[in-house]
Symmetry: C2
Subunit: 306 residues, 2 copies
């Protein structure tokens, strides 16, 4: 299971009752934070999520509304007695920008590890998460992220019995270990079925629509995407500022055949995004508006043979 | 008249429903902001105050809860089409800290002028405000601020008539100008009474109680002071961390004989500061709790001879 919480839906500047766009995922006691604008630590407290277990912070880009809450967040993590290192991931220049911002947050009780992205697309694994960063189309270098949890195949108890495997060894094989019993070697593939469908969340903001987003969103249970504008006549503005409309986001969601889409990163000028949802759902039915501290617990889909 | 708005009452970290401590004053179309922690721009929007007319930002010190909201605030000022320069005042090192934080806020449409404080006490005038910065006692260099508005003496119409001054000249003399009529020179002091009592606000946080605060708070209509702790047994903690209790603040308010005191900069651990107010008022009766966006319009006191 993967807990997902969209902390806010604002773009450009935080507003009363609209926190800036950022995301937390929780899996197996290890949390990922994606972006950290001004006020993100307050939103997280409001959502009842502790800053302590944030092991990884992914940055889409370095515009202030996506990173300027970092000093406060890092200090709150320090105040929660964290001592384990934190991995920070973002575009080239990350280390310099972060250390510059942390001028007001000295003497941290944990180390910061920097992972600067340099390729168009990059996949890495941390704490059971598989993370893919992919370059999107903004007016500065900006990345989207897919966060996936894999799921092992089903354990075949009949086969284990057939192989006369003692029950005490089952758990090890289920967790990927090889066991030796009476000189015989048993490997997990002998008793485990093919890997089952895991869970996947894709997050994309700020960008024009692009193939990289569609390709990476494919297979996502949840696709969280910017919908900066709802007014049809704002398409020109979206193109100029390298953002997208809610309809463009829905079009990508349909092409990627995601489970559902949440819209976020609303322009401060858009006071009532709800009014555009009929038009959005005509393009992709499973579209929803993001809101402050919107949570879902993504569960594995049960399979036919289970 | 001087508008004063305490934007928040938090210390250390912002909380849901408790913005960090900072202050706005409005006088004659020119605003002062004192401190700018994470979320201060949201509090200001909530208070209905525009970021555009902030001409002066005073920083008490460089702990994150007092300055890390600066990039967002400066960007919001830029987005409000401000082009006039902004004066930033704070302890030595101000320029370096600010420029470091503004790594995520490039290409501003206005200049920043830095005024670094180096003395124990310093008084300067900007836009009709008289500002005194005075060093307080924290674990890093930290200043308190008194913000005063002076008030001219009363115009003596009888005397003006006696001197046969044409009515057309009165306004100039009332505004401090010298006029020449039929070769005769008239100076303001000939028709203006002694300067009347103006308005004064004093702001002190983070500090142990000290003479500099008491001396500068004297004559203040409003004294805004930290009251980090209310629990009597937190005095030791206050001494260690170079903060003060609500009772110590009240003691200074009484010694300085201020008009009224607002308490602020509450510890995140203090969830209900109200419960300590009986004890505080036993020391200084005119004590009040600060709260988010607490406003007052300070008006000149009418004098007996008016």
């Amino acid at each position: 299971m993967l807990d997902v919480c969209l902390l806010g839906t604002g773009g450009m500047m935080p507003l009363p009752n609209r926190w800036l766009t950022s995301l937390v995922t929780r899996y197996n006691g290890s949390n990922i934070l994606v972006d950290c604008g001004e006020g993100t630590q307050i939103a997280m407290k409001q959502a009842g999520i502790s800053p302590n277990p944030i092991d990884i912070i992914l940055f889409t880009h370095f515009h202030a509304d996506h990173i300027s809450g970092l000093p406060g967040m890092i200090l709150s993590m320090a105040n929660s007695d964290r001592t384990e290192p934190v991995v920070l991931v973002g575009p080239r220049g990350l280390r310099e920008v972060v250390l510059s911002l942390l001028v007001v947050a000295g003497g941290l009780p944990f180390d910061l590890h920097f992972h600067e992205l340099t390729k168009k697309e990059e996949t890495f694994e941390i704490n059971g998460y598989t993370i893919t960063a992919f370059k999107v189309k903004h007016n500065v270098t900006c990345y989207g992220y897919s966060i996936s949890i894999s799921r092992l195949g089903k354990f075949d108890a009949e086969k284990a019995k057939e192989l006369e495997l003692p029950v005490q060894c089952w758990n090890k094989l289920q967790h990927g270990e090889t066991v030796i019993v009476d000189g015989k070697t048993f490997t997990p593939d002998m008793v485990m079925g093919a890997p089952r469908r895991g869970l996947k969340v894709t997050y994309a903001t700020d960008s024009r629509p692009c193939e990289a987003i569609i390709n990476n969103a494919k297979g996502s249970d949840l696709f969280i995407c910017e919908g900066m504008y709802g007014e049809k006549d704002k398409l020109k503005s979206a193109k100029e500022k390298k953002h997208m409309t809610m309809y463009e986001a829905a079009d990508m969601a349909a092409k990627a055949e995601v489970g559902e889409m949440w819209l976020t990163h609303f322009s401060p000028s858009m006071m009532n995004p709800k009014q555009y949802m009929n038009g959005v759902r005509a393009i992709f039915a499973n579209s929803y508006l993001g809101k402050n501290c919107k949570m879902v617990e993504l569960a594995y889909k049960e399979e036919e043979d289970e």
